[in-house]
């Protein structure tokens, strides 16, 4: 017996030690779920959320509005992509919104929503967003949640570092992700002539204070780096703009390696007040370019598109004092200005630290000409140590973006180590960290890039969800995590899937939006060219092979609802006016076999669908929005006769004894 125990001893030791090793395996970082999370995110039925979150749809090209803290999806606002659900980009009225100098581009990659600002605070009037692919900036009206304007930007390859507002929305700016030869220069050049022939261009889009209408004021021609993001200064740094630059190696192939060689890239600081002054002095060079400018008119419910020609450009190398470079470790992504305008946090996505720059020190370095070389001969690079407030040490892996809570703290996402890190701006000490599920890009704090953050909630916007939700095949949703930042420690409250890619988002207290909400459009103000203001005025008009149907919709009929005399080869335009004058009574309109879309028409609005019948016969049409108890009866018929038939043009609706 004794012997056998001794014999078994080695086995027992092996077993025990392997158990110990197994239990020593570093576990996953424990979830920091708030014990009261359910209470904090519960918005009782019928109650409103406290905050609106506007998240870009990334590759969906749209913007989605969510309620926070519940995470409920409120609306997808169509911006750069056609939306067959309500006819945006399909209806005759909205097609011009998606026009560009390349023709009709019905999709894009929308990245950065930016709320309009007054005195550096979110004012709740408009939301700007960039089209990354075919360079565009859109303006969404937050009273109607409709896209009111889209302006194309010439001379650039991808509008990524965009759109960022100056302190009073004097300008929204953008810069290119892909440098390329300028539009007015010879573009047919060898790609490896990059360093010589390619350029960047910073666009300054002026925003009208009253109407919000945009126009491309001027562009600064800058070195051919890749520009990732930007932020305007505020308060003390009001006059300045900061852009992150990567690929300062100016590589044109295998950027993954070739653009990651230098130890430091740059933050480009631009004195925009000075640029504005130079333009005022007539220093801008008129350059021939073409770009589309699309405007939606709320009175006519109709968009128009104009191809503008020419813009003013300014070569920054010719004007000293306009541009300075601050060295920033390894391929910086975000550049974020603290609420006081003094501290500027930049995130080198391959760096081991988060450098925080000081605006005051930047000015001193400029004064003292504390340079560390020049770019393109005339653009000073300031000494890293001279402009640095300090570095946040060991923040995590892959720092990307920072926002602020207005209480002296900053929060940075770590893409690679999948976490959000809270640090103190003055002493750069790390206070707390919380895991993200998984790989956060941007983050958003309510008012977190403004002068007066509201704080309280932080959204971590994540690219990968893997095991977070019920699986949906190979294509999974992307998601947000809602984090409570009201206390010292961050606490996880909720996570929810989103549409597309929630690339970036901005959040604003709901009352700033609620007070301007439009409930319906007044029919007497409807100036659409094809409006029908009363049912008795509904009609069908033939002009050659074009047939215009002036139709009205009211609960629960479309008028006229029997239309005959349409022939093969006709182009039929159905202009539907929703006569309702009440909140939340849209009507839909759909025709069998229509090759484009259906329409969703808001009360008091007119919307037109073009339809080219493909065969003769009877085509039903009907209302697609369940509007009333008799919605199912809201229908009618087109009769389509062969080309050359002598069917007379006839339209009618039965006598309604009830309303007589």
């Amino acid at each position: 017996m004794k012997i056998s125990i001794i014999k078994l001893l080695p086995l027992a030791i092996i077993l025990l030690s392997s158990l110990a090793i197994y239990s020593c395996k570093p576990g996953k970082v424990g979830s920091k779920l708030d014990a009261d999370a359910a209470q904090k995110v519960y918005v009782a039925p019928g109650k409103y959320d406290e905050v609106y979150a506007f998240l870009s749809g990334g590759f969906s090209g749209q913007v989605a509005a969510y309620g926070i803290p519940s995470g409920r999806l409120l609306k997808v606002i169509p911006v750069f992509s056609q939306n067959p659900e309500n006819g945006y980009g399909y209806s005759e009225e909205t097609k011009p919104m998606l026009n560009t100098s390349h023709g009709f581009v019905p999709w894009d990659d929308s990245h950065h929503p930016e709320l309009s600002k007054t005195n550096g605070e979110d004012d709740g009037r408009w939301l700007f967003i960039n089209g990354n692919n075919t360079p565009r900036i859109a303006r969404i009206n937050l009273a109607t949640f409709k896209t009111d304007e889209i302006i194309e930007l010439p001379n650039i390859g991808g509008n990524h570092a965009s759109p960022f507002c100056t302190e009073n929305t004097e300008y929204v700016v953008g810069n290119t992700r892909f440098s390329e030869p300028l539009d007015f220069e010879k573009g047919d050049v060898p790609i490896n002539s990059y360093k010589k022939t390619f350029k960047g261009a910073v666009s300054f889009v002026k925003v009208d204070k009253g109407t919000g209408s945009m126009n491309l004021s001027f562009q600064l021609i800058v070195p051919p780096f890749n520009y990732d993001l930007a932020h305007a200064g505020k308060g003390v740094s009001h006059d300045w703009l900061f852009f992150t630059c990567y690929n300062t190696e100016e590589a044109n192939t295998l950027l993954e390696v070739n653009a990651s060689q230098r130890d430091k890239d740059f933050i480009m600081a631009i004195n925009w007040k000075k640029a504005e002054e130079l333009i005022r002095q007539g220093k801008g060079v008129k350059t021939p370019v073409k770009y589309a400018h699309n405007v939606y008119n709320e009175k006519t419910h109709t968009a128009s598109s104009q191809i503008e020609s020419g813009t003013l450009t300014l070569d920054v190398t010719k004007y000293p004092g306009l541009v300075y470079y601050m060295p920033c470790p390894k391929s910086p992504h975000g550049v974020d200005v603290a609420p006081d305008g003094e501290y500027i946090a930049a995130s080198g996505k391959l760096a081991a630290v988060i450098p925080v720059f000081s605006y005051k020190k930047m000015l001193t370095a400029i004064d003292k000409k504390d340079y560390d070389g020049m770019i393109d001969g005339t653009l000073p690079v300031l000494k890293y140590e001279s402009v640095l407030h300090g570095e946040v040490k060991q923040p995590g892996l892959g720092p990307l973006h920072t926002e602020f809570d207005g209480k002296g703290y900053a929060y940075t996402t770590m893409f690679v180590s999948s976490e959000v890190v809270k640090w103190k701006i003055d002493n750069l000490q790390i206070i707390d960290r919380i895991p993200s599920y998984y790989s956060p890009g941007h983050l958003s704090i309510v008012g977190g890039d403004s002068k007066k953050p509201y704080g309280k909630y932080l959204l971590s916007l994540n690219k990968i969800t893997k095991d977070r939700y019920l699986p949906t095949g190979p294509e999974l949703p992307q998601a947000c995590q809602l984090i409570d930042i009201s206390g010292e420690k961050m606490k996880l409250l909720l996570d929810f899937p989103t549409i597309g890619e929630p690339h970036y988002g901005q959040m604003i207290p709901a009352d700033k939006i609620l007070k301007n909400q439009v409930k319906f459009f007044k029919i007497e103000d409807n100036k659409n060219a094809y409006v029908t203001r009363a049912e008795k005025d509904s009609k069908v008009v033939r002009t050659g092979n074009r047939v215009d149907v002036y139709m009205t919709a009211i609960r629960s009929h479309l008028a006229p609802d029997n239309i005959e005399g349409i022939k093969m080869g006709d182009e039929v335009y159905v202009h539907v006016t929703n006569l309702e004058q009440d909140w939340d009574v849209p009507h839909g309109f759909a025709i069998k076999g229509a090759n484009n879309a259906e329409l969703l028409i808001m009360p008091g609005e007119t919307s037109s669908l073009k339809w080219t019948p493909d065969r003769s016969g009877i085509f039903p049409f009907y209302c697609t929005d369940f509007c009333s108890a008799l919605h199912q009866e809201m229908q009618g018929y087109f009769r389509v006769s062969p080309a050359g038939a002598d069917t007379p043009l006839k339209f009618s609706i039965g006598v309604n004894p009830v309303t007589q």
Partner: protein
């Protein structure tokens, strides 16, 4: 009449002038789909509020379209009420109690006539339904209440005085005071005979 009574009549008239600038009555409609409610305001000379929405809904049950032009009352009422108020003013100026009483009675008559007319309209709207209506409920009539609340299918209908109506009502109560005061002052006169001063006078 004592001066205080004449002042009361004057005050009453001023309050009743409110009928020209404020809505007298309102009909309120609440339904699950209308959490914000619908309202029909009745003025001395017309209607306002969500008339279009209410007509839009009423067409399902075949109720006649509410149209201000159908109400001849609104053309007459401002003048008729003005005459009544004028009567009160005359009573106060020439200090005639008889006329004050006549005024009060004519106010009462005006009120009774008004409510009767209101009831008749409500009855006709609620009962004379188009036989082709989409929604027909056996034995269901849609006459709104004269005063208070009533359930009509998915709608809770309320009929209540609006700001103008309340102010006119207060004016009406003041108009009634001369009658009551008179009785009291009679009693007071008898009592007064027993005061020492009166006795002295009697002696």
């Amino acid at each position: 009449m004592k001066p205080v009574l004449r002042i009361l009549i004057g005050t009453s008239i001023v309050l009743m002038l409110g009928a020209y600038v404020l809505p007298l009555w309102h009909i309120l409609l609440d339904a699950p789909q209308y959490p914000e409610g619908l309202e029909l305001k009745i003025w001395l000379n017309g209607l306002s509020g969500n008339i279009d929405q209410i007509n839009g809904l009423n067409h399902y049950i075949g109720m006649k379209h509410i149209s201000i032009a159908d109400f001849r009352e609104f053309k007459i009422l401002p003048y008729a009420f003005g005459m009544v108020l004028l009567l009160g003013a005359v009573a106060a100026v020439i200090n005639s109690r008889k006329l004050a009483i006549t005024w009060f009675l004519s106010l009462c008559l005006f009120g009774i006539a008004g409510f009767t007319d209101f009831y008749i309209w409500e009855y006709n709207y609620g009962h004379h339904l188009n036989p082709h209506a989409a929604i027909k409920v056996e034995g269901m009539y849609y006459q709104p209440p004269l005063f208070g609340y009533k359930q009509l299918l998915n709608f809770t209908a309320g009929s209540l005085p609006d700001t103008g109506g309340i102010i006119v009502g207060i004016g009406g109560v003041l108009a009634a005071l001369p009658l009551i005061k008179r009785k009291k002052s009679k009693i007071n006169n008898e009592k007064n005979l027993h005061t020492p001063d009166d006795r002295r006078l009697a002696v």
